[in-house]
Amino acid sequence: MRNFGLILDIATTHLTSKIKQTIIAALGVMFGIGTYIIMMGFMTGLNQLLDGLILNRTPHIQIYNKTDPTQIQPIQRHQDFKFNWHHIHSIKPKSRLARIHDALPLLKDLKENKKVKGATPQTTCKVFYIAGANNLNGIINGIEVSEEMRLFNFKDYIVKGDPNSLRKRKNSILLGAGIAKKLSLSVGDKLQVLGTNGVSHPLNIGGIFQSGLAEIDDAQSYVNLKMAQQLLGVGSNYITRIHVKLHNIEHALGLSKTIENIFEVKALDINTANAQFDTGSYIRTLISYTVSITLLIVAGFGIYNILNMLIYEKMDDIAILKATGFSGNDILLIFIIQALIIGLFGGIFGLILGYSISIVIDNIPFITEALPTIKTYPINYDPFFYITGISFALICTFLAGFLPALKARKIDPVEIIRGK
């Protein structure tokens, strides 16, 4: 545009001559955008932390044996009673082994699947922990520790000792922190584990495990898969659970259904298992957006107000400009540019404010028993928020400036000049 430089010059002269009002309007935008950045960074940081807590640890698909009663009972198959009313009460599931039938072929099949990042077998057994005169009941999971570390960040939850001790020594155990506290045991100590078949095994504590969830830490421990099978007195094909991690979490539901159709097992996908968790994240995000948008709307009204005042004060200027050959659209442009300049500066300073406060929050210590890997408050620095922030600022100020600018375009210079 040929006149753009001139229009810009007039717009900025107006703004700088009313520098206090301009700054106040820009401050409104700045606080709106700053708060948006802080809210989004903090809220989504928290969401990611909590998601990570669940998602990193939780398998995308858990496979275990079915324990629900048979869907079609024998009497329903019988042709003679097809049209009769069946009176059979207290139907119970039939007795089943805890192990997954054909676990090894299933495991091999999963590992060859391209959607699968990895699959780990687990064998769970119920035990008594015995140290001195005390005993506690609990659960021991036999795991392949290197795969667990690769797929489920298992290492993050070992607060003392070394997870690799499970590979180095067969009778090593990673003891739950709650159990360790109750039995006053530490890394390097010995304890006896009594299996359900009455055989006791001496184990060495190779590390302390803390998930942050008390009910797990008070009962669960981890040993090598082979050790767990030995505790139960079963062979190496005795596997009670398979945990699957996928490359893309979106495939969890589909693949779990496929597995259930092919094998005689129950496959639980993460979305079904953690449905309430998604709702929590969703609501937190919704709250952040609502608060930020409200702040921006307030800032928008501030701009609207200040531009309206500016136009009222600049009636004479508008009349002269129109009388000396500036068209209505030139005037419209002057005021829209003013709104956008306020939006741009307010927005940029808002981003700086938001970023600075985010850094401060990011460095505030946040130490909690429940989250052993977290040292400071979580902040998400996703550039997406900064891009939306500045876009929000420009769109809001544009809208706030547009109505007063339309009014300025319509001002009839004759009325102003006559009116004196």
Partner: protein, 223 residues
């Protein structure tokens, strides 16, 4: 001598508070280089006529021809261009942009026209200010200079695009007699030396008597 401005049967009504026939069949003509004044009592419609002639008021019936072009057919954007290029304005109340420097005020219409580079416009704006004796104020903000100086600056602004015609609404109405004489002499000189066409609305008889021709108005008609 050719005609610079001509109206044919211009009629104008006010509708607020009630319908009022303010201009009745106004047909006037202004030759190139003429210095004409329009006189009449307050409320006779002389200012209203001037705003129509200036193309700022488009709510009228009839034909307005400026520099051989029919203004009645143009839209607002084109009329703005015409005002920028062909008409210079002087108002009773000076009307400078207070936050801009005097020099910038004079330059603005030429910058809008965009025919010359900013350097050349600056130079010619300075020349106009010099001609009107206010060059020393060039870099002051417009709100800092006196009323008489403001009026001279607004004359310089009216001249910057070398318009076909200068229109003035009570240009001396708000000035003391010394400054008023001064402004008249400047206008007179423009007419004589630069063959500028001038149309001035005034109710100052002394002023009007010194112009080439007086158009007298009363109650919406030419007397």
């Amino acid at each position: 001598m050719s005609t610079v401005l001509k109206t044919i049967n211009i009629n104008k009504y006010f509708y607020d508070p009630e319908k009022f026939h303010v201009l009745k069949n106004i047909s006037i003509e202004l030759k190139n280089g003429e210095f004409v004044s329009i006189m009449g009592k307050s409320g006779c419609g002389k200012s209203t006529l001037l705003y129509i002639l200036s193309t700022m008021d488009t709510q009228y019936e009839g034909t307005l021809i400026l520099d051989h072009e029919n203004m009645s057919l143009l839209n607002n954007t084109n009329l703005a261009k015409i005002r920028n290029e062909k008409i210079g304005f002087i108002f009773q109340f000076h009307y400078l942009l207070p936050e801009f420097t005097v020099l910038k005020n004079v330059m603005l219409p030429a910058l809008k026209l965009g025919r010359q580079s900013e350097e050349i416009i600056k130079k010619s704006a300075f020349e106009k200010l010099e001609m009107l004796g206010v060059a020393s104020q060039a870099n002051k903000k417009a709100y800092k200079i006196s009323g008489g100086q403001k009026q001279r600056v607004s004359i310089a602004r009216a001249l910057i695009n070398n318009p076909k015609i200068i229109m003035a609404d009570e240009p001396t109405g708000n000035l003391d007699s010394k400054n008023a004489d001064n402004v008249f002499n400047i206008l007179r000189a423009l007419s004589l030396e630069q063959k500028m066409s001038l149309l001035v609305v005034t109710h100052d008889l002394d002023f009007a008597k010194k112009t080439d021709r007086i158009i007298k108005m009363g109650d919406g008609i030419i007397l």
